[in-house]
């Protein structure tokens, strides 16, 4: 005979069974999600490591404060890739957005040099095409690819060293610096333009080679001075 409480027991059992199934589903689902997240995190970490390595290798100075490498925060910070693209530097894919302004200027010059050379070569190809009536599409594409490659090589030591020789002649370096840069105090970081710009007042006029001279007083002169001052020199 099925007592009412047995019925209650059956219902309870089914209920419990359902809860257990739900729990197991939930558990397996959560475990799967945790696994997925863990994989994702590992993947991100790997990517991050790789990115860090690339940055360390390719960027010479990345400190925001050192935008002009003179320790001054000019209040200009580049966030993300968007601004870069707007500035036409999408070529620097994978390279830190916080490269210095100086590097930006240098890169600008470098890419112009490469463009000029590439354009010249392509023009030359076109001239040959016209003159000889042959197609040189592949050669032209090769030059373009080579040009892009050279631009990407900006941070290689050879090219960076080569281009950085232009630093003293950059517009930013030849423009006059704020007045307090001119003074010889130890704590004030000078921008390198200090060397290039003229001093506010220079009592010294550059002399010609023919004016070169040395001036010495005779030793007797010094001896007399010492004598007059009552200095014992023996």
């Amino acid at each position: 005979m099925r007592w009412p409480w047995n019925r209650v027991g059956d219902e309870l059992r089914t209920e419990l069974e359902r809860v257990r199934r739900d729990y197991e589903n939930y558990k397996s689902k959560t475990e799967r999600l945790i696994g997925e997240y863990r994989n994702r995190i590992e993947e991100l970490q790997r990517e991050n490591e790789e990115l860090k390595r690339t940055l360390d290798e390719s960027i010479i100075e990345r400190c925001e404060k050192d935008l002009y490498e003179d320790g001054i925060n000019y209040g200009i910070v580049f966030h993300g890739r968007k601004e870069e693209c707007e500035r036409g530097f999408s070529i620097l894919d994978g390279i830190s957005p916080s490269y210095t302004l100086l590097q930006m200027e240098l890169f600008d010059i470098w890419s112009r040099i490469v463009d000029a050379v590439t354009n010249f070569r392509i023009l030359h190809c076109e001239k040959i095409e016209r003159d000889l009536g042959i197609k040189l599409e592949k050669v032209k594409t090769a030059y373009k690819i080579a040009g892009d490659y050279l631009k990407r090589q900006f941070y290689s030591p050879e090219i960076y060293n080569l281009v950085s020789r232009l630093i003293p002649y950059l517009p930013s370096r030849t423009a006059p610096a704020p007045p307090y840069y001119y003074y010889p105090t130890f704590y004030m970081p000078y921008p390198s333009s200090y060397q290039k710009t003229s001093y506010p007042y220079s009592p010294y006029n550059p002399t010609k080679k023919s004016d070169s001279k040395i001036v010495t007083k005779s030793l007797d002169n010094v001896r007399n001075l010492a004598k007059n001052l009552g200095v014992k020199i023996e």
């Binding site: 003074y183 010294y204 001279k213 040395i214 030793l219």
Partner: protein
């Protein structure tokens, strides 16, 4: 007497003549006046933007330093101390205003040549203007003979390096340095200067490389404040381009309080050279120190250094920043080494007698006293005066 000294650099940092001179003076003055306070880091370059180090206020006799990051608080501190006399070694618009508001006898010492052209507000407000050479004094007085002629005084810079001259410890250290720097018996040419265009270090380097090419056995030792990496590279490249990297020793700034090392460095050199063009050079304490250590020296024949060193016959003068002249100067010293050593030896004795910090500190103490007793001093007769003559009157 409570003296307030103001300098450009914070606390005990040395950044040039206008920092080292007041600091060295304080070391002697603290036995001659009752109390000295030192205000550092507050100048016309740091008024608008607070420097990283803040402004420092040191009670020298108590050896107690406070750092201020707020100008108002600093001003209150200054007023609460209420000094009897103020001696400022640094220009500053606000600093000048504070000094004026304090209403005490106020001395301003001009350490630079180029500042002379724009520091009129200081010359107007100071009770006494002092310069380190007649050359600078003349320049100031020329601006307004009526006004400045009556309060401009010449008090030379000073050094205490002569104390190290016969110190066996320094001699030993300098011999070690010599062995280290010049293992192949090279002649050492030393310069200690801020690595910037006006000091003529690049021209000196060029001259040295040319002399080496001509067969001289020289080692160039550089030490000083390096404002940027570019200048350092520029200097090193002069040697690199001629494959002479082993002929240059590049030291950076010699840390404060490392005087013994500096004295030994001066002593180990065969020639000390500073062919600066006088843009900022009004005296050259470095040359004073080099000569104190009996090192034959070369200096740019111009302005203050010309007056103090060349015209008195203490050092060889060369056309400033002129490679040919520098070469000639160095060669002259090498060729007449005995004579030049004798010159440096006598120069060292003259410096001991005339430019020793102890003597100059004594003079300053007298000036402070004189200024406190009759604040409105008027230097009559001549447009600017030697301190000796003035004190003797």
């Amino acid at each position: 007497m409570r003296l307030l000294v103001e300098k450009a650099g914070p606390e005990y940092v040395i950044g040039g003549g206008s920092d080292s001179v007041p600091l060295h003076l304080i070391n002697y003055l603290k036995y001659k006046v009752d109390e000295i306070d030192l205000l550092g880091g507050f100048s016309k370059w740091t008024e608008d933007h607070l420097p990283e180090h803040g402004y420092t206020y040191t009670e020298v006799n108590k050896n107690k330093t406070e750092i201020f990051r707020d100008k108002e608080v600093l001003k209150n501190r200054l007023f609460s101390r209420n000094p009897d006399v103020i001696h400022s070694h640094t220009p500053g618009y606000e600093l000048n205003r504070y000094n004026k508001e304090l209403g005490k006898p106020y001395i301003y010492t001009e350490h630079s040549i180029s500042w002379i052209y724009e520091d009129d507000y200081l010359f107007d407000d100071a009770d006494l203007i002092t310069t380190v050479t007649h050359y600078s004094a003349e320049k100031i007085v020329k601006k307004n003979p009526k006004k400045y002629g009556k309060k401009t005084l010449v008090v030379p810079n000073s050094t205490h390096f002569v104390d190290y001259r016969d110190d066996p410890k320094i001699t030993n250290l300098s011999e070690n340095l010599r062995r280290h720097y010049a293992p192949n018996n090279e002649k050492i040419v030393l310069t200690i200067a801020r690595l910037q265009e006006d000091k003529g270090v690049f021209e000196l380097a060029e001259a040295i490389t040319q002399l080496i090419e001509e067969g001289e056995n020289i080692k160039f030792v550089y030490a000083g404040i390096v404002p940027d990496e570019e200048s350092k590279e520029r200097l090193l490249n002069i040697f690199r381009s001629k494959n002479m990297e082993d002929r240059i020793v590049f030291n950076g700034k010699i840390p404060e309080g490392n005087e013994e090392y500096m004295a030994a460095l001066y002593k180990c050199a065969d020639v000390f050279a500073l062919p600066s063009d006088g843009t900022f050079e009004s005296f050259s304490v470095a040359l004073l120190e080099a000569l104190s250590m009996e090192t034959p020296s070369i200096i740019g024949y111009q302005g203050g250094p010309k007056e103090v060193f060349v015209d008195q016959g203490l050092a060889v003068g060369v056309t400033p920043r002129d490679v040919e002249a520098i070469k000639e100067g160095i060669r002259f010293i090498f060729e007449n080494y005995e004579e030049e050593m004798e010159r440096a030896r006598i120069a060292s004795r003259i410096i001991e007698k005339r430019y020793h910090t102890n003597l100059i500190a004594e003079i300053w103490a007298k000036i402070y006293e004189k200024l406190i007793t009759d604040k409105r001093i008027i230097l009559e007769m001549c447009p600017f005066k030697d301190v000796d003559r003035w004190l003797a009157e």
